[in-house]
Symmetry: C2
Amino acid sequence: MTDAQTTRRMANAIRALAMDAVEKANSGHPGMPMGMADVATVLFTKILKYDATDPYWIDRDRFILSAGHGSMLLYSLLHLTGSKEMTIEELKNFRQVGSRTPGHPERGHTESVETTTGPLGAGISNAVGMALAERILAAQYPTVFDHRTFALCSDGDLMEGVSQEAIAIAGHYRLSKLVFLYDDNSISIDGDTSLSDSVDQVARFKACGWNAVRVDGHDADAVEAAIKATEGSDKPTLIACKTTIGFGAPKKAGTEKAHGSPLGAEEIEGARKALGWDYPPFEIPDDLRKLWLEAGKRGQAARKEWEKRFDALDDAVRSDLERRLHADLPDEFATAMAEHKAKLLAEPKEIATRKAGEAALTVVKATLPELVSGSADLTPSNNTLTKNMKVITPTDFGGDFMHWGVREHGMAGAVNGLAIHGGIFPVGSTFLVFSDYCRPALRLAALMKIRIVHVFTHDSIGVGEDGPTHQPVEHLAALRAIPNLNVFRPCDAIETTEAWEIAAASKQRPSVFALTRQNLPQARTDASQNLTAKGAYEIAAADGPAEVSLFASGSEVSLALEAKKALDAAGVKTRVVSVPCFELFFDQPGAYRAEVIGTAPVKIAVEAAIRQGWDAIVGSDGGFVGMSSFGESGPYKAVYEKFGVTADAVAALAREMRSTAA
Amino acid sequence: MTDAQTTRRMANAIRALAMDAVEKANSGHPGMPMGMADVATVLFTKILKYDATDPYWIDRDRFILSAGHGSMLLYSLLHLTGSKEMTIEELKNFRQVGSRTPGHPERGHTESVETTTGPLGAGISNAVGMALAERILAAQYPTVFDHRTFALCSDGDLMEGVSQEAIAIAGHYRLSKLVFLYDDNSISIDGDTSLSDSVDQVARFKACGWNAVRVDGHDADAVEAAIKATEGSDKPTLIACKTTIGFGAPKKAGTEKAHGSPLGAEEIEGARKALGWDYPPFEIPDDLRKLWLEAGKRGQAARKEWEKRFDALDDAVRSDLERRLHADLPDEFATAMAEHKAKLLAEPKEIATRKAGEAALTVVKATLPELVSGSADLTPSNNTLTKNMKVITPTDFGGDFMHWGVREHGMAGAVNGLAIHGGIFPVGSTFLVFSDYCRPALRLAALMKIRIVHVFTHDSIGVGEDGPTHQPVEHLAALRAIPNLNVFRPCDAIETTEAWEIAAASKQRPSVFALTRQNLPQARTDASQNLTAKGAYEIAAADGPAEVSLFASGSEVSLALEAKKALDAAGVKTRVVSVPCFELFFDQPGAYRAEVIGTAPVKIAVEAAIRQGWDAIVGSDGGFVGMSSFGESGPYKAVYEKFGVTADAVAALAREMRSTAA
């Protein structure tokens, strides 16, 4: 049997498992696994550096299934190459509750799944981040990091806008160890891609600084040659693999009917015949099983060589790298942050929280070499390029700040990839209003439970003159809606620093910061405890049993404190609760929550944003001073005045509600 | 004086107004208006078909300032060409509360502003929709529509991912009357674009099916020739205009310092000298004023010719077109919808609301020729291609369904453009989870108060096997957070039809539908009144004073009704409130809201999504049956079971709360 024939038979094992699992689940996508089986077989048996017995070896080549709907391709590969968790039973339980084989691959849920994919474009933008991580780490640890990143993507991945951002970033930074294997099957859900697409992808990628070639995706030798030709390239490479979706299925191959539903018994029987596959469902002949298991160990020698290099590292260097890979913090971190807070308390200043964030980030960076910051072309506004950072360039990855360009979604996807790779703590930044562009990636970060931070500045109508297009009003609520995401809106430099402490230590939960453009007084006078970690806390007590409780976040805390002064002066006993993080507050025990919410007859929330979410704290009969519409262009104080978000308005509402309650 | 010298002087009027207004506001972006003044002057004095005395002439050429931060370019042009509203006082009030000159251009707020821009990429995707609208309308009314669409865009516009989606759509559909004037100034906020970008835009556009040329943006003759060369083209055209940002400013020109802040008195004085502009701030010499006003009337003859053609239309055709342009509904609409509802009541079926939506849409389409539907490559899942629609193709615009490709954001931007153009009622569709990709455009639709619909199907964990990447849990809350957006989650075929009635009549508010994948029983037994219009209403009364009120939306209404049965049987008097639209409910008078919320001691909300927002109805002490995390892959009933979103769980919680309350 020729090499090509063996490869085809090994690929047919994938095809059979994919169509059988989808059939058994009565749900799923057989077409892509069957179409890309040859390419994947070449990659996993001849190219990819990995060791199935050590799936998290840090210098493995990465394989990202960006076209996540083809999950059975990945699950079959994991099963065949010997992933311990990916038993044949799991394949039989494809798409069932509790299985390791969900409809789309989920990182953390299934061993060896590098990233959670399905929403198209996500995987390739993660891949860019992972390839970038390798370059950055290789600059820091040249003997330890030297791997490649392969992403399998579909027509749909390349139609999504985020693909352009990802491709442009990879091309600009010349991520030469990144390869996209494009399943060029000319079929989308609606039918032939010619229904909606005329883009020449090879020309497009070349325009963006990539190598790009076309190859027959069913010609194993040609695929192998094309991938091998990318070694030593000075650019990332697109390999457009012309394939037939559902390859082997007699009637449905090459049509959208093979894409997203079971083939059906008759078609599967026909495919078995056409492929010369005589085995019953879920059965793999011993010779193929052996070949696949051997393939799964191909990288063992390389891994052993690598271990020697890793062990040869200077002890301190190695243990710091290990710390980084575990996302642990060094001991100096807590000390440095404590010192910074002490300094803030000693010299309180009226500054914007974006500036306070810059100061805190400078301290964080000083103790965390793994921190990589960046901005989507708002560097001077986001204040995320601190003095102790160095800009990363296409010719020097020995830095820690990325100019992402005006590419919020691509940045967020790559930030996820940086974190997923391991060894890096990534920080992105843009305006809060543009968090909308990042949402698909933020959601996946929350689902994957990874440690990332996005610094979203210009967080309210306080943006001022740029007007309603740039003034977020619904974004805090919309972000708070995402499960497992800490949304911090600190009220001053102390809370901002506390938020950084929490975010850096938050291994399982991503964080976003909403920071002001405008100056704020320092509200906190004590920093002995990280109160932000409670999510909400009383920042100013009433003089006796409170008649009025004011709840506020961020810039409105100082406004609430001002209102308290006026109310206290008028004899209305008022307390103020700062609410820097809803998610953490709702994590607290019920008794603490009840204590913080308190029993004052008048409860008012103050936030220069919409009310949604605040009812959980002040009740549906509580008062609210904030926004109920989009904002307006004007100097920020005039805008606050125009929408009645003022200390006077808070005090007036409190008095009114008190007289009604009385 | 040569023609070129005159053009330069006219352009200098824009430059002077821009730098003076920004200086007076002490805020804004002088660089782009100064850089693109020559190009804009050529366009407005020699190319664009418009009549400043009739700014909303429907067959005018459209000019979209996608780089909305350069708003002073547009405001200056409007002032100079004679827009009545755009007085010199307005220019002096640039970026002030209450002015017509907000920081970024706002459609509806300022006469002749075609669309709201600022968030980069938005304008060019709108432009694609507007150019498409022209083609569709020209196919229907060949003597009435024949105009072009010009969009001025920046480096940032072309870096945003949505640009790729927009460009690919325009290229595929060969929107030959669309021209992008690209301000190729090589400067972004962070500095030189070479910091983050290496894309060859001309090559990229060519790969996407465009003509693309480069030209010196300060050479008026060359610009004019390049634009004129696009006439009669069979493709859209990119004209990359090489310009100097802040052209004329002696020290800041060509640098990021000219981009986003006032130039300062000294630099402005230098610029006046360099440009040979001897006039005080906000003063325009009479000869230039005259030339500009003449330019503003260039299109009058064409408009008068057009009026003849318009008047020559068949009376019925003309009056129907006028109706369409006013977004009014024909009389048949109400009748057809009423008949449809009567049929639904007569033959109740258990169907998914996406299928019910298809049936309703078929009726809507039958009476509204202006309706243009489409899907982002989920046509067979979204059910938005009805039998009475015809697919639009690059060679035949005489249809009413768009295959948008896997381009949710581009679709949403183009849908906005279709609506903005006038004469079309656009409908987009994708999965609810991908509404995240559309958010920046949805927000702008809400801000612009335009009539659009997005049909978002697969609206909960009811998605089932596709798993958490495809199961929306936070999206309802996140969409409800956007001001001025009706989020409909109908519970059955009747509510779905009612939602369509409201959406079609909603001239000032966009609508989105959240529809199920899974079948639902028909809950309503009466359709004499459009109850969805109230936002929430009692769908099943208690037998006597209610002890338990259940509030639910969409698929959970039938689940609440099932729970009511069990509770009633156990002697617990229970009522059920259907809540198809929060936004409309909160619009109701307080007395109605109080009545619907009622006084039952036990209040429980049921929605297979997160709780956020429901406290406003059930109170923070109310019960909730829904989600507090992401979902899981599995058959949908098993997933509902796994997360405890069942009628049994609702009944159990009600009993538990009742015993506590008692």
